[in-house]
Symmetry: C2
Subunit: 203 residues, 2 copies
DNA sequence: TGGTTACTGTACTCCAGGTTCAGTTTTCGG
DNA sequence: CCGAAAACTGAACCTGGAGTACAGTAACCA
């Protein structure tokens, strides 16, 4: 796992991810990446077949990391609390706290990057990007369904839309936060989402 | 205003905007644009000093169009209703209806495009992008402030964050909607935002 | 110690993209 | 209908990036 080759591969992916989030996919050149990594072009093509292959690998890793992160936070919430609504509210709070600890602006989200440059990536990358969003929907709506079964919502809502709203707030919060250079905006938006859930389900 | 030169300029901008929203800024080449416009390269550089100049002109126009659109919807809401809360709710509904009438996926938002490729555009473009978001904040929070004065919110919120949440839901809704190819998602997310406002302020 | 893994370095092709400019056509006011 | 200003054309220039090919080398590890 942590052979020399894997370390270099990960390093290349780290650099690529950061640059893509900053500059976009097509503006990120292989030249850029290998210069920062201190590796030769041949070295790059030893690890990846090309830019498309790199994009796919990045999205795949991103998806796994996200799933790990979110399910970790849910598990933590379940450890601490029994009530599904309180778990959900805590989950959002934990997520907001994580975002709060970033000293810089949120680096961005690969899903958004590839979505806004969808004509530049192949169908496999598009597909896994969509899968990633569907993962979030599944994860969030699973918890919201538990809430839904225990508490009558104040308004007629469905849990899929509510789940998507969290993805929406995260993606939108990143964009707006970066656009006006306000580090804490994303956190505040997450807490607005939390308010909405409270108003919907709390007695 | 509608001299031949202006018509060509607008045509170039229309094509550029559509392509940038689809493929991103740096992936959109001048070659692309002029081919579709049926004009020569020299012709392009007669109208714009370069790509940066084009980006700035696009963002400027976008900002004006947005302001026109949003304030138009607010005026319509004011014509039809007197109560500020009901006006706000109607505004969101009108906005959602507009989005609903798009037969395709939402084309995207230039603010998001330039934000995710901020390293590719100059400081002027970054500045006007931020200004555009601040316009939305101003416009939305003006109305929300009126609501706030008439109705006690159920939870402690500030109108700036609430205003930003609408921008967030729009930007995020576009991303998520496009990522999974669901045309109606953005509309549904806007109605979730509307729900939140209702729960916050309605008796 | 020797084979596999992980590279380096160079050299090359091909093409796309941004930019410039001298010259040509079109438009339109007088 | 003339001439200047506006609106282009077309070709050339240069850079840079994706990808290829491959021979040689160093590091790792069984």
């Amino acid at each position: 796992m942590s052979t020399k080759g894997n370390m270099t591969r990960n390093k290349l992916m780290d650099i690529a991810e950061r640059r893509i989030l900053q500059k976009g996919f097509s503006a990120t050149s292989i030249e850029d990446i290998i210069t920062e990594a201190g590796i030769s072009k041949g070295g790059f093509f030893y690890h990846f077949e090309g830019k498309d292959d790199l994009a796919y690998a990045l999205m795949q890793r991103y998806r796994e990391q996200d799933a790990f992160l979110f399910s970790g936070l849910f598990r933590r919430a379940e450890e601490l609390l029994d009530d599904p609504l309180q778990q959900m509210l805590l989950f959002i709070k934990l997520l907001a706290e994580m975002m709060d600890q970033l000293e810089d602006l949120h680096p961005g989200c690969l899903v958004a990057s590839f979505t806004y440059e969808s004509h530049e990536v192949n169908d496999q990358v598009k597909a896994i990007t969509a899968d990633s969003v569907m993962d979030w929907r599944q994860l969030f709506s699973d918890q919201l369904n538990k809430v839904h079964q225990h508490y009558p919502p104040k308004l007629d809502v469905n849990t899929t839309d509510l789940a998507d709203l969290l993805s929406t707030v995260i993606e939108g919060g990143i964009v707006v936060s970066r656009a006006i250079g306000d580090k804490k905006l994303l956190v505040r938006q997450l807490l607005e989402y939390r308010n909405y859930i409270r108003l919907l389900y709390e007695a």
